[in-house]
Amino acid sequence: MRTRQTGNLKKLSAPLVSSVSFLIVLAGAALMILPFLWMLSTSLKPEAKVFASPPQWIPDPIQWSNFSKSLSVLPFGVYYRNTVIITAATILGDVLTAALVAYGFARFRFPGRNALFVLVLSTIMLPVQVMIIPRFILFKELRWIDTFIPIILPAFLGGSAFYIFLLRQFFLTIPRELDDAAKIDGLGTLGVFSRIMLPLSKPSLAIVAIFSFLYNWNDFFSPLIFLNSESKYTLALGLNFLKGHFFSTVSLLMAAAVLAMVPCLLLFFVAQKYFIQGVVFTGVKG
């Protein structure tokens, strides 16, 4: 009798545990998603309805014009253009140079290689902010303040150590025999790199491009330091500017925030596979 009961209990407990887990996970998921819905809902309301109590989740009437209005209060078209230019250039720099450098560390033997790679890794720990004052002075001396160069250039000089690390780990998994075979077929070092390694590592390059996009699209610190005139503003600076603006209202702010987030969210839904892979690869294998 007793044994049968505990047996039953055991059989019962597995589904019970998993359904309790399910409920907790579900509740957590709601907490994750609610702020987005709240933002979207506010962005579609006439300002008068924003402060209604209790809050109205489904806007009535739906005011689409908030989006166009939020774009016209400030020259957001210019901010978008600037952000796209900076982001595109930094992605190019990050992917290209991180691949070159990672390939150098993965495939060639040279004196000091391991020590240098440790240096690469140690710069991961070093936030940009620590070096920002001398960098600012340097770029000021070069008369590059209020241009995009100080923001774009670092991407072409090794990009982020994190990307180098990620790509090196990936290159190490590609068998060396492939390089050798290609060399026998007459490809030079650069040929092996561009015709064999790069095509083989498209998924990893995509991961680097995605991380680079997210970082640079949202980056606030570098534009804040290096850009002054409004015509150079990025989206992040523009959003912050809008916050203190005379004409800004909550619904306009939320509409602008939605528009700034949409590219990131779209990218996430399109390239979700790479996101998960990238995060997992760096976290688990790193």
């Binding site: 907490l31 600012f136 007459g186």
Partner: protein
């Protein structure tokens, strides 16, 4: 390139050793060429600035007037500067709250999801979603959520009969409110833990179950020990990230109220780029550099006693 390589490959009479020396040299040169973008970047954007900021930290400089060597004066001022200590306290407190909280929640949710929860990939997406967005847009969203009168949070609390605090305007709650935003983005670390758990060889669990281990024993004797490398990685990343906290504070609270959220980076930014005390701000940057160095070394040292690597040679 191709032809020269063919030449190098061609057999020579000069002997094996000389040839292998030449090939090695050629390989080394190629290697240096490939890593040269990073080398230049490291010298110009990392090493140079670190040394320069050390020198600057012994000077007084407002960019306009010439540099003046003041010796240790900046560091002496720093020790007596209440704002410096306040910023250190705020940043430290935030780190002590945020890192463990994200660790427990991240592992907790990952463990729950690992219980064969239906719709796993859907949930993974939803939990990761907040980590995709960041910066000013997220800060604006949370300012609105924390709005004392009409925000989502206090509206909800009112529904369950609680009068919510002023959040970002209340010195006692502002820092916690910022921790809240960070916890909302816990999904980024959660999926790393989830992958870590799923990467543990299943025969370990089977063997434990055959030996009669219960859930608790499996969790503490197998899952968590096997997860320690991932925990270590997330801790290091988490600490560095919280030491750098800037955008959210700048946009959401501006360091207030009453300096309750004066993070280290905000204090540094103000000294350097609002008040143009480049020398003093450089001493702040160097102290931060040393702090990060000490934290990292401490973590690395401690890791040998609690991080379990199945075998040192496995993996990258």
């Amino acid at each position: 390139m191709t032809s020269s390589e063919r030449v190098a490959r061609a057999p020579r009479v000069s002997g094996r050793i000389a040839r292998s020396g030449r090939i090695a040299r050629k390989e080394a040169i190629s290697g240096y060429l490939f890593i040269s973008p990073w080398l230049v970047g490291f010298l110009v954007l990392f090493a140079g600035p670190i040394v320069a900021s050390l020198l600057l930290s012994f000077c007084q400089w407002d960019i306009m007037s010439p540099l003046k060597w003041v010796g240790m004066a900046n560091y002496e001022r720093l020790i007596r500067d209440e704002l410096f200590w306040q910023s250190l306290k705020v940043t430290g407190l935030f780190t002590l709250l945020d890192v463990p909280l994200c660790l427990f929640l991240g592992i907790g949710v990952a463990l729950l999801m690992n219980q064969k929860v239906p719709g796993l990939s859907f949930f993974r997406t939803v939990y990761y979603l907040p980590s995709v967005v960041s910066g000013v847009a997220v800060s604006l969203l949370w300012i609105w959520i924390y709005n004392p009168d009409h925000g989502l949070l206090n509206n909800f609390l009112r529904n369950v009969g609680i009068q919510g605090p002023q959040w970002l305007q209340d010195p006692r709650w502002a820092l916690l409110a910022l921790v809240g935003v960070s916890v909302w983005q816990v999904g980024g670390t959660m999926i790393i833990y989830l992958a870590g758990i799923q990467g543990i060889p299943t025969q370990l669990f089977e063997a434990a179950r055959i030996d009669g281990a219960n859930r608790g024993q499996i969790l503490f004797k197998i899952t968590l020990p096997m997860l320690t490398p991932v925990i270590f990685y997330n801790m290091v990343v988490g600490i560095i990230k919280s030491l750098q906290t800037f955008t959210e504070v700048y946009v959401m609270t501006g360091g207030g109220p009453n300096n309750a959220t004066l993070f280290y980076m905000l204090n540094l930014y103000r000294n350097a780029f609002k008040w143009f005390k480049m020398g003093y701000a450089s001493s702040l940057a160097w102290i931060l550099f040393l702090l990060i160095l000490v934290c990292t070394l401490f973590l690395l040292r401690s890791s040998s006693s609690w991080v379990y690597y199945e075998s040192e040679t496995r993996g990258g």
